[in-house]
């Protein structure tokens, strides 16, 4: 445990001195996380009792519509509350430590070094008044990874690694002098600079055009395979998650409603919402053609006491509106929060 814990371990190494890599203690455990936002004078829960874990070297996808609490959940990995929000309950355990109990100062050595972020919009993520090279250098120096000329050399090396052309030249530019794709590569370089154990990707390609998206996905897959770090990949785009994730969790109105290994989730989605989401993914082969597409929109102001999805669900019964649904393991490693899931399975079978 002693020396190995502080230096990020490549895949498989996690087992040394500890439990076995996959069957043992996961890198991240989120237990009953609840996050509130202030709305006028009331606190409204935007994330409710969310629990999941991420194994070492594993990539977990977090899917859902805008406003479902994905980003809030992602930021909780940093023990970070946006202005006007608070953690109302739950725990985020990272490598054995409860992060939510730590102060900003205690979190500082973890943020950026052991857990790093690639946010959604590259155009607003980099500080406009600072050259991009320095934004990497200060991360390296801040975490004592390297300093001075070494840090600059390492920065240029990182820029090459993320596929930026003429890395030394780009390091001297300001963010606005780069394209969106280049900006996001710089952000990825910052995120991997200190070789973190966990990288949190919050819709990292959404703001970019399709070609750039595809290239960046290849880059991210490559980096993950090389480094063996764990990842939390947040996206509304199931097609992307299917490509890159080992497991996918689906969120609706602040709650997790289904979580399963990727292939299992896409082949046998059990929650009506997941089915709708998958049906909404444009595909060449129309295999889910018969499935109900999603109706309506997520309305936070109009949630029933029971299942949040009930108002939009084609299979809802009166009970759905009154009985809260909890995640339930209906098959090994496949959990669903829908009491009708077994019936629906039967319905879909013939």
């Amino acid at each position: 445990m002693a020396a190995g814990t502080m230096t990020p371990a490549p895949a498989g190494d996690a087992a040394t001195g500890g439990p076995a890599a996959n069957g043992g203690e996961p890198l991240v455990r989120v237990d009953d996380l609840t996050v509130d936002y202030r709305n006028d004078d009331q606190w409204v829960s935007v994330v409710k009792d969310v629990s999941f874990s991420i194994g070492r070297g594993e990539t977990l996808g977090l899917a859902g519509e805008s406003g479902c609490g994905k980003t809030t959940t992602a930021l909780a990995m940093f023990g970070y509350n946006k202005a006007g929000s608070r953690v109302a309950g739950g725990r985020v355990t990272f490598d054995g430590r409860d992060l939510l109990g730590l102060s900003d100062r205690q979190m500082q050595p973890i943020r950026g070094a052991r857990i790093s972020l690639v946010p959604q919009n590259p155009a607003s993520t980099l500080t406009p008044s600072m050259k991009v090279g320095r934004q990497v250098v200060e991360t390296l120096e801040g975490h004592g990874v390297s300093s001075g000329g070494d840090a600059m050399d390492r920065t240029v090396e990182l820029f090459g690694q993320v596929g930026l052309p003429e890395p030394a030249e780009i390091a001297r530019r300001y963010p606005h002098q780069l394209s969106g794709g280049q900006q996001q590569r710089v952000v990825i370089a910052i995120a991997i600079a200190c070789r973190p154990d966990l990288i949190v990707l919050d819709e990292p390609t959404t703001a970019l055009d399709v070609t750039t998206q595809a290239r960046l996905l290849d880059l991210l897959t490559h980096i993950k395979d090389e480094s063996g770090m764990s990842a939390l990949y947040v996206s509304h785009n199931l097609g992307v998650l299917e490509q890159i994730c080992d497991r996918v969790a689906v969120m609706y109105a602040g709650e997790l409603i289904e979580i399963a290994p990727t292939a299992e989730l896409f082949n046998r989605p059990r929650h009506p919402y997941t089915r709708g989401l998958i049906a909404a993914v444009p595909r060449v082969e129309a295999e889910h053609a018969g499935t109900e597409k999603l109706r309506g929109l997520l309305r936070r102001d109009d949630l029933p006491d029971g299942c949040g999805f009930a108002p939009r669900c084609p299979y809802s019964r009166p009970q759905c509106f009154t009985d809260p649904q909890r995640l339930d393991e209906i098959e090994p490693s496949h959990e669903v929060a829908c009491w009708r899931a077994p019936d629906l399975e039967a319905e879909a079978a013939p």
Binding site: I110, R111, T125, T127, P128, M130, E138, Q177
Partner: protein
Amino acid sequence: MHFVRVTGQRTALAVVALFAVSLITFWAVELLPGDAATRMLGREATPERVASFREQMNLNAPAVERYTTWITGFVQGDWGESLVQARPKTEGAPAGRINRSVTDIIAPRLTNTLELAAFALVMYVPLSLAIGIVTAVYRDRTFAAGLSTLVILGCAVPDFVIAIFLLVIFAVALEWFPPLSLVDQAESFGAQLRMMTLPAVTLTAAMTGFAVRQMQASLLSVLNSDYVQFATLKGLPRRRVLLLHALPNALGPALRATVINVVWLVGGVVLVEVVFTYPGIGLLLLDALRLLDTPVILASTMILASVYVLCNLGADLVAAALNPRLRTG
């Protein structure tokens, strides 16, 4: 290239604006009843004296001709002579009046005003920056809310009210400072500073509120920005995030506030100089207006207008220097 062209355009516009100011001022003074002769010599003056004064001062010439003469001289650096202020040495000389040149009259007054403005700015810049930063960074704390309330109060109270308030308390009741700021008669630098304190504090108080609110607003929006969040989540120390990521990007709007304040100073200083009898350019302008001393009025107005125009020009250039997006095009 782009930057140079913009600078050129702005400068040309500034010259046009100043020309317009001189035209408007001249014709506004023309429209006022009476002229320097009647104002200077008073009601009891004989028509002959008035006529000879007008003759001497060339006041009988058509207005267009007098304006043309003045502007021709002005652009060549000859700002003319006062219509009413005699040159002290030539008092007894028989060969008619030789009046003081406008440059001689204005120079010491301008120096006084600049000293007062500099004094106020020296207090104002660090004060508004500090209060703006503290109230934005510690926005959740009670003391920051108290400070913000004070700032809003400072914004709301007119400057002459602040001036009279300060006079009553610190000059009349406590007698810490002289009620008249006759800095030309000050015996020492210390005495001069004491005379300047109350007017300078008045100006500072009037300017700070506005600047603090600008600084607060721009820093708050920057503190909530994606890049400040990202810098924090990179694990940088809070101080570094504030000084290197937030502040440089928040200063632009605060700078604009300072420009608006300096521009406001141009007018505010006139009022404050009157209340404290401070011998600056504002008081000079007021006296010149009373006597319709056109060359002095024009020269003072042009100086005040130039400050206005130059500040706006300067602010645009500094903003461009601070913002790499504007600098590198």
